[in-house]
């Protein structure tokens, strides 16, 4: 539904005019005869599958979560702001609450203390929801991968649709990544299944070992925890 739709030949214009007159009363301003209407021909009806229509709507109006983590969030801000203006592509309204957002961009390094919070923010977003990984850190840990406290990529915690590499990616790269996501959503493609080794679980449900025994005094059975098995990380 973009700019390459050409109006129908003028032979149809009289028919269109008649249709419009019949529907809206005579003498209606020409401006109501939008290029879209002209493209669809004389009929004011579109036949499509409801799912396809919904996918098109979803891809054309994406609400992003205002979610800054690290360096990449600066470039993310530049993507929303003047010059790059992500809103031009129907995806630039940052929402402060996850309950109003469709897309979460992960712009930065995930560390052990933050991963459970990010997981919870992701859980709070309504379905259908999409994830864009921005930058090397959220892809693999990036330059900090060797760090004792760094989760080796957001995919260890939540499923991800699009990866935008770079350290940080330029705003143009993020715009391209979001546009790719929109294409994917419009086409109704689902994201690949990923492994999420780190989950939030109840402390009582953890397998007992030395570490769990040592922490048993200070953590409640019902408290949620995330267990990091660093040795198994990629």
């Amino acid at each position: 539904m973009s700019g390459d739709i050409t109006p129908q030949p003028s032979a149809d214009e009289d028919v269109q005019r008649a249709t419009t007159d019949a529907r809206m009363g005579g003498g209606t301003d020409d401006r109501f005869n939008s290029p879209l209407r002209q493209a669809l021909g004389t009929s004011p009806f579109i036949l499509t599958k409801f799912d396809r229509f919904m996918n098109w709507v979803r891809g054309s109006s994406m609400f992003m979560l205002q979610f800054g983590i690290a360096c990449c969030s600066l470039e993310m801000m530049h993507t929303y702001a003047v010059k790059h203006d992500l809103d031009r592509f129907g995806a630039g309204v940052p929402r402060a609450s996850p309950r109003q957002a469709d897309v979460i961009i992960i712009p930065g390094t995930i560390v052990s203390k933050f991963a459970p919070r990010m997981k919870r923010v992701y859980d709070q977003m309504p379905e259908p929801k999409f994830v864009v990984n921005m930058g090397s850190c959220s892809i693999s840990g990036g330059p900090f991968q060797e760090g004792y406290n760094v989760v080796k990529g957001a995919e260890e915690v939540i499923p991800v649709d699009i990866h935008v590499p770079g350290c940080p990616p330029r705003p143009e790269a993020l715009v391209y990544g979001v546009a790719k996501l929109q294409d994917q959503v419009r086409a109704g493609e689902s994201s690949p299944v990923v492994v999420k080794p780190y989950e939030l679980e109840k402390f009582g449900d953890l397998e007992r070992d030395e570490l769990v025994d040592r922490l048993a005094e200070r953590i409640d059975e019902d408290d949620l925890v995330m267990r990091y098995n660093w040795a198994d990380s990629p």
Partner: protein, 551 residues
């Protein structure tokens, strides 16, 4: 303060270390020589008495940095002291403790800023500070096992991190209907990143505030300790204060490493360094201005967009120069990586265009912000930070200068080309949120003045003398057990780095003294008793970058 004079050698104006050691008397068990200063070794139970003498009788009112580290035979805390009047007057206090029982007396009674420093030392290295009012982990989760910067830490051991449900403010926290507990962050638009504030409100006033850090603790010190001096460390500083202040951070590392390995920098490279660093300062202050107004007005208004527009222009210039918009990696030890791109005149024109239009842009900001009544109501006389408190907490940079503390390392502890140029240190006496913004806006103008003079010099510089790099050995291996701490004026204040070498090509201990960390530690002092809305304004005016707070 009055006693500061006799300790200074009257002829050279330099610090008379013998006089200091004399007034410390029996407290000293040994003397140490670090590259930048002399240090006294004291027993772990005499920390407070020693520091009190140094503070009250020798005039050292600035605890600049606390370094903690583990040796094969001992733990050690090093307190680096300076004076706010003259930061070239430095002194160190080294406190060794045994490995079996790493306990040391706290310095919190003497310098408040030691509180957070010692919590960090306890968290990462494992030294216990006796008498510390609140010795908890600060960067890592409470349930963490082990101390990761210790020598025997096994990084592959599994860890369990708690996730407590956010406490319901209405359940169990209403004490006789008086106070309410509220969480702000770690995911919140006003916290400038992933900061978590635990706030107790009494009505609309802040009764208690406890910043909870560590949501972006990405092991910068460990990363630097595993890189080689010559090339592998320089990319990391860009990512500490990532508000496009990268070159200022690179300079902190460059200055320390050059001091450690005794390297020179050619004059031409110093001018390039000075110019690019000031461009970064403008970029960083523009972000501070934009996001501060975002906090005050609460939406993506024109001011935020204008600030972003001006940042884009500076980033374009920096991209021309360094090839990168944000992570510049422009400095090398002993110089910079590239000269100005050819054709040079095109680059100069780009900078001149920016400088010519900057005054009009600043006027526009003043129209939109500082003369706006709504803005003034929110910021004038809110978030008061008294100079004494600021000094106690080790505040530096625009935050300190807005409280009337005339402290700027570019002038007071000169490096680069600043000494040769004509510019002013900006101070304000308001001590409030408004003053902190004013200082930043005026500093942008001063930075523009510096850049202008640098460009004039660069334009005139003879073509065959454009030396951008001095001779530096391919592999740097400073002598074992040399220690140094050097600082530069970063965008947010005194950004210092401590390096201890062990004779290899990698540092044995790399410690970052982050200005944001200190500026944030003063937030409870500023905010308690104020309205919660003013607390948000104060947080914005402190201009913290979590990458530098948590490191």
């Amino acid at each position: 303060m009055s006693v500061t004079e006799p300790l200074t050698d009257t002829e050279t104006g330099e610090l008379d270390y013998d006089a200091i050691f004399e007034i410390l008397g029996d407290h000293i068990i040994d003397r140490e020589s670090h590259v930048h200063t002399e240090a006294a070794v004291v027993r772990p139970d005499e920390v407070q008495s020693t520091l009190r003498i140094l503070r009250e009788d020798a005039g050292f009112d600035h605890l600049s940095c606390v370094v903690s580290q583990e040796y094969r035979d001992r733990f050690e805390s090093v307190y680096y002291l300076k004076t706010y009047d003259d930061p070239t007057q430095e002194f160190g206090v080294v406190v060794p403790t045994s490995r079996d029982e790493p306990k040391s007396q706290t310095a919190t009674g003497v310098y408040e800023t030691a509180g957070w420093h010692e919590r960090e030392a306890y968290d990462l290295v494992g030294i216990e500070y006796e008498g510390h009012p609140d010795l908890r982990r600060i960067l890592l989760p409470e349930s963490w096992m082990g101390h990761p910067l210790g020598l025997d830490y096994d990084q592959d051991r599994p860890q369990i991190v708690e996730y407590r449900e956010h406490e319901n403010p209405l359940e169990g926290h209403v004490e006789e209907g008086e106070t309410m507990f509220i969480n702000i962050g770690p995911h919140h638009p006003a916290t400038h990143g992933v900061l978590h504030l635990r706030v107790v409100l009494d009505g609309e006033q802040v009764a208690d505030l406890d910043p909870d850090l560590g949501y972006l603790h990405r092991c910068e010190e460990q990363c630097c300790q595993s890189g080689t001096y010559r090339h592998q460390i320089m990319p990391y500083p860009d990512r500490w204060d990532y508000a496009s202040a990268g070159i200022l951070n690179e300079w902190a590392y460059a200055r320390t490493a050059e001091n450690l390995a005794d390297l020179d920098v050619p004059e031409y490279a110093q001018i390039l360094r000075t110019m690019s660093a000031e461009l970064c300062r403008i970029c960083s202050h523009m972000l501070a201005l934009g996001t501060f107004c975002l906090d005050i007005y609460g939406d993506f208004t024109a001011i935020f967009m204008y600030a972003m527009r001006d940042r884009e222009r500076v980033q374009n210039i920096l991209e021309e120069l360094t090839g990168q918009r944000m992570m510049f990696n422009y400095f090398r030890l002993g110089g910079v990586v590239w000269d100005i791109p050819e054709p040079r005149q095109e680059f100069f024109d780009l900078v001149w265009d920016f400088l010519d239009e900057l005054p009009a842009a600043i006027d526009e900001y003043h129209d939109l912000i500082t003369t706006n009544e709504v803005f003034q109501t929110r910021t004038v006389n809110t978030g008061i930070l008294e100079p004494d408190v600021a000094k106690q907490y080790g505040c530096t940079g625009p935050v300190a200068r807005a409280s009337g503390i005339d402290y700027d390392l570019r002038r007071d502890d000169p490096y680069g080309y600043y000494e040769e140029l004509d510019w002013e240190v900006i101070t304000e006496d308001g001590c409030d949120n408004y003053s902190r913004l004013l200082v930043r806006m005026q500093e942008v103008e001063e930075s523009a003045k510096i850049i202008e003079q640098c460009i004039e010099l660069l334009e005139e510089w003879p073509e065959d003398e454009r030396e951008i790099q001095s001779n530096v050995p391919r592999t740097l291996k400073p002598d074992p057990d040399t220690e140094t701490y050097r600082a530069v004026e970063g965008a947010k204040g005194e950004l210092g780095i401590y390096i201890r070498s062990d004779g290899t090509d990698k540092p044995a201990r790399f410690k970052i003294r982050s200005p944001c960390y200190h500026n944030l530690s003063v937030l409870p002092e500023i905010a308690e008793g104020e309205y919660v809305a003013d607390m948000i304004a104060s947080l914005g005016s402190l201009d913290i970058i979590l990458g530098e707070v948590d490191r």
